[in-house]
């Protein structure tokens, strides 16, 4: 089917995983983590990153045993009905991710950059650009993402450095937290927001080999959760638990604090470019994989005609939530429930099916 992308390497895969998991750090994830784990929010970020990485490695282990992309693997291990259901799950999950993030990015753009604009105009603008990017190619997006990776990392490190005068280490004190168990549980509960890591397995044949995919999992997801952990760590040191859980745009607020004199201050507007590009790539990848799953479900030869239709439909759905708070709450709820199916249930199901198949083969062999 020609909706399959071409050949990709570690760099492209890394960018896909990173940009499907990290950009939520620019919106509500740090606040949610601090809300759930207080001063140990950074640990929760670390935990959910590790869980997501393990989940992907398990899926990749299964893909190593059974050739093909995630859905073809499911077809071989679980049968066509289950494969169809799993594809449906991912189609809905990527659509939901797109819709809820689109609304949040649009509202945040409205708040921080374009207060006089209509939010529907911003949603439409984001949708048009996402559709254009999807129309261009997955490789193009992934390569552009890879070019941006160093800028993202360096920018974050520079911001952490510029904020040095404002850190207060005691805000990380354990007695301000809710305990280690709560932090671990909070981390495990929110791991679902990284369900997008499965994208690597969805387009598995596009990668050179299984080793490349494992590198992608380790480097892409590793970089993502280490940076997220750092953001939550420094964010907690800056704002503490009480104020930190209230902020809607943690990164924006962090940059806003930068003050090194009259000429280096209030840099938040310059960093808009960074998080807008990050968000747009996240949205584009979500839209691409949603369309990929839909094309697989309908056994369509190409996804191209679907791009404008689905983009318009989803942007209309994104306008349904009453306000940004509803969108954020919906995202938190879906992230902790529906998205967790992709992180926990799918890998477990695949490993169990693989084990059962292997055992069956051994039995058949023993029976002669």
């Amino acid at each position: 089917m020609n909706y399959q992308p071409g050949k990709m390497g570690t760099a492209e895969g890394m960018a896909i995983v990173f940009l499907l998991t990290f950009p939520t750090t620019f919106i509500t994830t740090p606040a949610t983590l601090i809300n759930d784990a207080a001063s140990l929010g950074w640990l929760a970020a670390f935990i959910h990153g590790v869980i997501s990485m393990l989940s992907l490695l398990v899926i990749l282990y299964v893909c190593k045993q059974v050739p093909g992309n995630l859905f073809e693997v499911c077809e071989q291990l679980l049968g066509p009905v289950f494969a169809w259901l799993i594809a449906l799950y991912y189609a809905i999950a990527f659509c939901a991710n797109y819709v809820l993030l689109l609304r949040q990015y649009a509202e945040n753009t409205l708040i921080t950059a374009l207060p006089m604009s209509e939010f529907s105009f911003i949603i439409v603008a984001y949708s048009i650009v996402a559709a254009i990017l999807v129309g261009l190619s997955l490789e193009g997006m992934a390569r552009a993402g890879y070019i941006l990776l160093p800028f993202i990392v360096v920018t974050l490190l520079v911001v952490f450095l510029l904020l040095t005068p404002f850190y207060e280490i005691y805000r990380l004190a354990p007695w301000l937290g809710l305990g280690l168990g709560t932090a671990l549980f909070a981390g495990a509960k929110i791991a679902g927001i990284n369900f997008g890591v499965a994208a690597v397995a969805i387009v598995a044949p596009s990668f050179q080999n299984n080793r490349t995919m494992c590198q992608v999992a380790l480097l892409g997801m590793g970089l993502s959760f280490i940076l997220r952990t750092m953001v939550v760590f420094f964010y907690t040191m800056l704002f503490g638990v009480t104020v930190g859980r209230e902020k809607m745009l943690p990164f924006f607020e962090m940059v806003r604090l930068v003050y090194l004199g009259r000429y280096v201050q209030r840099l938040e507007s310059l960093f808009i470019i960074l998080w807008v590009i990050n968000g747009l790539l996240d949205l584009s990848f979500s839209l691409y994989f949603a369309l990929y799953c839909i094309a697989y479900l309908g056994r369509l030869p190409t996804m191209r005609p679907l791009i404008p239709v689905v983009a318009i439909l989803l942007s209309h759905i994104a306008m349904i939530p009453e306000d940004v708070v509803s969108a954020m709450m919906d995202y938190a709820v879906i992230g902790k429930t529906f998205f967790n199916v992709g992180i926990y249930a799918v890998p477990v199901l695949l490993v169990a099916a693989l084990g059962w198949k292997k055992r069956k083969k051994v039995k058949q062999w023993a029976a002669g």
């Binding site: 990709m8 390497g9 570690t10 760099a11 492209e12 753009t109 950059a113 374009l114 604009s117 911003i122 603008a125 650009v129 254009i132 990017l133 261009l136 190619s137 490789e139 193009g140 997006m141 390569r143 552009a144 890879y146 070019i147 941006l148 009259r262 000429y263 201050q265 209030r266 840099l267 938040e268 507007s269 310059l270 808009i272 470019i273 807008v276 590009i277 747009l280 790539l281």
Partner: protein, 626 residues
Amino acid sequence: MGNTLITQIYESIKKLLIYKPPKNPKPFVLDEIEKGRSDLAGPQPQEELNQAARELKTLIDYSRRLEELITKSISAFRSNDTAVIGRLPEEVEALKKVKDNTAPVLLSYDSAAEPLDRLVSPLLEENKALIDRLYNSDINKDILIRRFEIAGDQPVKAMLVFLDGMIDKQILDLGILQPLMLLDTGKTKPVGNELLTTISENCLPSNQTTPVSKFKDVADAINGGDTALFIEGVEQALTLSTKGYKQRGVERPQIEQSIRGSQAAFSEGLRTNTGLLRTMLPTNDLVTEILMIGDRVPQKCAVMYLKSVANPDLVAEVKRRLKGISTDYIVDLGMLEQFIEDHPGVIFPQMLSTERVDRAAVNIAEGRVALVYEGVPFVHIVPVTFFSFFHSVEDFSLKPPAGSFMRLLRIVGTLVAVILPSMYLGINYFHQEALPTELALAIAGAREKVPFPAVVEILMMEFSFELIREAGLRVPGLLGSSIGIVGAIILGQAAVAANLVSPIMVVIIAVTGLASFSIPDYRLAFALRITRFAFLLLSAMMGLVGLSFGLLVITVVMCSMKSFGMPYMTPVAPKTMAGYDTLIRGPVFRQEMRPDQLNAQDSRRQPAVSRKWTKEKPVGKKEEKE
């Protein structure tokens, strides 16, 4: 009424007063050409086909009878059948008569073919008629036919055909006509094609003589400035190299000037350019393949590459695309590029266009393919990456830190040229908080008297700048650059004085303009200028958010592009082995490998230790020990 005085006066007054339209011919109107009136319109294809079929049948019948007679003769002689042998002369005579009758048919069959598809005739008159028909010699004064006799005991009629203005008359007079007309060897001349060979080998001092049979080859040679020699009774013509058209010489580069490095630029002559490249790459490994491009007016296009280095698939693909062009006429490499590039809809150049011989040579040595086109003083190089456009041969003439600094300066200049005005506009409209208070107040103060919004102000200045640039290019000679400088200073001053624009805007546009000149490639600079306008509009609508949209879309477009199958943004995206020649220019002796993305046949440029002398003992020390 008689012709009285009154009637005469009346007629005179009437003639004076009443307007009569002048009797001019009807003005010319270029109407659609009538069907069948065109000179190209020949007989109906079906009728032509039937006629050809009838003629072909007659010829086949004749050949069949001839075959039968030969078979019959062989069997008669073998069996010694005297009766049959006795009848054979009569049958041969009968067949001769048939042949005589068939000759006009043969002629007619041949003449039904397109003139260019016909073969050279042994009859001089027939060849002349065909040349007349091909070149419309009754109205076309360029074509010259010189009849003469080749001297000797038995003089042979001959004619030379050439295009006036395309040949060197001295070569024609002294190198062709003089030996043929005056230098009689006195020996008995051979006939037919043997005569042609003798003339070519013994009489003509011309360095290139090629016997040709088809009129297409004859026409190609004449069109290229050669002379065709037709001889009575010879079924071939001899094309003689007499090229002598005027060409511009090898001059200094006009667009890609450099302080160091070679100062030779390409000129319009294809052979001059291939020669220049060959002098820069004196190796037998350098291959020059010449293809003809254009259906109605074919032009020569040379494909040059190093046989042992260039990827054969790349060479085959370049040739496939060139051969796949079907159009009347291509005048420039820029047009040719649009016919063969991967993404004709994208504004960014996908071939490197250079007028510098050294730059083309370096790229060929790396494993790329060069396209040289007749009449174009530029050479195009394929495939290229986006980063190739920021390179200059001069980078390698300087030390690595200086070369790297120049490259980084160009890249920073490019970024400034593309995003500075839109960044200013975005901050001015939507993100004033990004500016320090003093600066914000200074800008606001300067803009206080300007009656236009910033976007109009910036577009006005950009438009003026583009006008000055274009005018400077079109005005000839030194006046062009003077207009540029004077225009910019006077316009800027006057616009500020008239409160049409603020001084900060003049600074922004001047810096942007200056930065845009740091982009080494003219076509890339053009593409980025247009991109800048798109970014301006996005920024005016959505501030830095709009600018982010634009930057991302452009980046993804560039990451999705390919130049002759090679990703445009490589070695950055997709990531390949970059070497020391992408953004930073490393030491030349550390660049062991050719660009990875080219997949050259021989990827190694030099051994790991290219400065072998560092591993050897100095000569003086050796002597000391001894």
